[in-house]
Structure formats: structure tokens, C-alpha cells
Symmetry: C2
Subunit: 243 residues, 2 copies
DNA sequence: TAGTGGTCTAGACCACCAC
DNA sequence: TGGTGGTCTAGACCACTAC
């Protein structure tokens, strides 16, 4: 008897195979953040390993930020948490020290199209959906975003009603398409505003521009989104933690 | 008998107190990367806990990047590893696609002085040493750095012979002053070149500039360095991983 | 009060490395 | 071959949460 693991290399340690099996269940949408996943004792029985081995597998997923333990209550699927992107890109206070209000988001376009070379290369497909958004702080447009997602993972995205979207995109990815973004890579550079971007951001053509290119990956490390975001270089601030 | 832990809150779990005790030993410079630290069985005996508890404490320090396990050999202090900073700031290839050579570093100044407000605020002291460096790729100056370190932790830094410095600063911090940099926060913003910076970087005054402000922390999370680095915004690229 | 995760133990056997 | 870390077990007791 193969201990009930999904089809993984039997030479791997039990906790690795269990971790991968749990990851697959998360990716399949078997669990929601509202209810605890099966208890450690229950998983130990189901997979015929000791509780200690379950703990080690769960530890790994907690470390990756996929699961969250609540003592006395249970272990829960954790909703993606690194979504306060605007706060990473701009200071919370304006140049005059006044606190800015909540970031807003305006959807401008959703359509099936061909992506730019960088997007198709990052995503590994040319069959993508394009999303264009304008994000604002205190009614001032600050960030113009072009986002590309693979149609294979997001079938029908372009026909969702506008009411399905909140200010953040990643929760929508998860709730409607079961795509859970786990990590991302950002590249920050500086350029100059094109006519289109300048018009959207209410700045002048050729004004200095901060450009952030991001590739996002799901729990199984497949690329699920490529985006390019532009904002005025004046007042731009990108925070990063290095470990 | 208090199990031989350093003076920490006895209400804390054993593995936490052991982890803190080991961190203190690392910070005190008791171990070097060349020799394994005491084995898990030996630490278990010394602190009168089980091997499993030692493993959990060591796991934490491995996760923080302080220690490194080598199966069959031992557990070693890990030399700081995130030092390829130039490669984080600029692409490896020039605009023409040609690969660039190894980054070089030229020390311009070391002196005891008063730091700018940001440095004294970040470091919590006005008694600092200032370091000025110019970093180059393929003999082209690309990054101008002003670095401030607290004199209390780096007494005599300004009188070290030039031969004590390699291309990287953090190994010198550790080898001569026992300061081990564990994490840092970067803030990337946009500015314009002052006369001094422009001259060093061979660009024009008021040319667009990428500015990176970094605060670095040691293993006990005390700030040990504040630096501001400037490079031409043209060709600048900052990479960041988000989890 | 029952069930959950949190801590800790004492041992077993394995894989790997250095001598 | 001996010692190291790597995996895994089967249990104990504690702290916390929900009902």
C-alpha cells in the first residue's frame, strides 16, 4: 500500500510527498480559507504516517505562506497577503506630509489578444487576456498597469461582470479561477512616458517614469501573470526587504 | 538548575531560549564558518534538552540563513550571502548585449564625522564613520555610495589599511568587527544628479538618477549600516523577490 | 469539555562524509 | 568505520479555542 499519496516519487521522504499532496489539494481548490483543513491527527491517519511527519509537512507550507495555524482552532488556507502593492510603490504620505487615502482601481480594458514578447515569454503562451487598469490615490492617478494572464488558466475572465472585481486582482484570481499567487519577481527601472501613459497619469510626454515589471507564480511555481506598471518617477518609492 | 540557557525569559519554550542563546554565541563570534558548531547531540547534552528540541532551534537559525547544515559533516556558521548587490542594481549585460565584467570597487574616503539626519536616525547615534565608494563595471563608474556605520561597533575602521578591503564590505564587517549582517531594507527612488555625483559618475548635473537607500541589520536586529547609493537612471534595473 | 495545535521526549534507522 | 545530520515514530503533556 502506497500510503495514499498522490503520484510522487516514492524515493522522496514521506513529509515531502505529503507536502506536495497537500499543495495539490490547495491548488485544486479542495479547501477554502473559511474552514480548517483536516486536523493533524486526521491527516496522519489518512496518509498512514505519524503526527510528527504531518507537522513537518504542514510546517513547510506554513513557511511558504500557504497555510496558517490557529492554536486550538485548526490549520487554515491563507488568502494571499502581499497585495498592498500600491503601498510598496509610493509613500503613504504625500510630499506635504498629509496622509493619502485608500488606493482605488479603475478597470479600463479586458480583452483576448496577443501579448508583447516579454509577456508571452514569461507566461510560455501567446494566448493571453489583457487587462488595463488605472490606480489612484486621493483621486490622483498614480499607476498605469497593463496585465497579461494566460487564457488557459483564466477562461472567461474577459466576460466577468465588472462587479466581480474589487480593488485587488489576486483575490479574484483565486475565487473565480482557483489560481493562488504565491510569489512574484519585480524589476524596477526608469524610462520616459509615452503619449498614452502620460495622458492617463496626467503628466507630460517624456516625463521621467518609474516602471515595474512583475512576473507572478502560483503555488506550483507556474507563471500566471505578467504585468508592467508605470508611474511618475517623482514621488516614486519602492520598498524591498532583503534576507 | 536553569538548563544552562543565557538569561532569557524562563516562560519561553525551550527551543526559543536555545535559539536565542545560539544567536548570542554567533553574535559574540564564538564560532567561525570554517569549523562545525557543536553537534546536535552535544548541544542536547549541554543544555539538557532532547535532540528534537535542538533540531527545532537549529532549524530556526537555518531558516534565517545564519546556519547551514551539511549532512554527514556538521552544522556551520554561514557567511553572509546576499552581497552581489551590484548585480541586483544593474543588468549583467550592457545595452548592446555584451556581458559586463566583474564589479570593481574604489574606496574614496573613510573618516569619522557626523552623518546626515537619515543616517543618525536609522542608526540611533550621531557618532558614525563615513565611507565613500565608487563602484564600476567594465571600468565604467555606475554607482556612487555614501555609507555610514556606528563608531561604537566599528572602532578603528577608518584606520584599517586599504589592503583589508576586498570588493565587498560585509565580509570585512564580520572578519574585523564581528558584525554579521543578516537582513536589510532597500528603498528605491528617483532623483537628479548633484554636481559631485555627476562628476563621479561621468554624467551631467541634473541628469536622472536612481537612488537606493539601505538600512542593514545584524543578527540581533540592531541597525549597523545606513547607505545611500546613486547611479544613472539609464540602464538601471532593480530586482526584487516577493513572497 | 472535547478537540485543536504547540512543545518536548527518547528512541530508531538511514544517508552521507571524513578519516 | 564512526560521527554527523535526515527522517520518522509513538507517545506525553500543555495552551488555547469553540461550543
Amino acid at each position: 500500500m502506497s500510503k495514499g499519496f498522490a503520484t510522487t516519487d516514492a524515493r522522496l521522504p514521506a513529509y515531502v510527498r505529503l507536502r506536495d499532496t497537500l499543495t495539490a489539494r490547495i491548488a485544486a481548490g479542495d479547501w477554502t480559507p473559511d474552514w480548517p483543513i483536516p486536523s493533524e491527527a486526521r491527516l496522519a491517519r489518512e496518509f498512514d504516517v505519524s503526527v510528527g511527519t504531518v507537522r513537518k509537512a504542514v510546517d513547510g507550507l506554513v513557511g511558504e505562506g500557504l497555510l496558517e495555524r490557529r492554536q486550538g482552532s485548526g490549520t487554515y488556507l491563507r488568502a494571499p497577503s502581499f497585495n498592498a502593492t500600491l503601498f510598496r510603490f509610493f509613500p503613504m504620505r504625500g510630499g506635504d506630509g498629509a496622509p493619502l487615502s485608500i488606493p482605488q482601481s479603475k478597470m479600463i480594458l479586458r480583452s483576448v489578444t496577443e501579448g508583447p514578447a516579454e509577456a508571452t515569454e514569461a507566461l510560455g503562451t501567446e494566448d493571453v487576456i489583457k487587462i488595463v487598469r488605472l490606480r489612484s490615490l486621493s483621486d490622483q492617478p498614480v499607476l498605469f498597469e497593463e496585465i497579461y494572464i494566460p487564457r488557459a488558466r483564466f477562461a472567461g475572465f474577459e466576460t466577468l461582470p465588472d462587479t466581480a472585481f474589487g480593488p485587488l486582482l489576486y483575490p479574484t484570481y483565486f475565487e473565480h479561477f482557483g489560481v493562488l499567487v504565491k510569489r512574484a519577481t519585480d524589476e524596477v527601472s526608469f524610462g520616459r512616458a509615452s503619449d498614452v501613459v502620460a495622458q492617463q497619469l496626467h503628466i507630460k510626454t517624456d516625463d521621467p517614469l518609474a516602471v515595474i515589471c512583475r512576473t507572478a507564480f502560483d503555488v506550483e511555481d507556474r507563471p500566471v501573470e505578467w504585468r508592467i506598471a508605470s508611474g511618475s518617477a517623482e514621488g516614486f518609492l519602492y520598498r524591498s526587504e532583503i534576507n
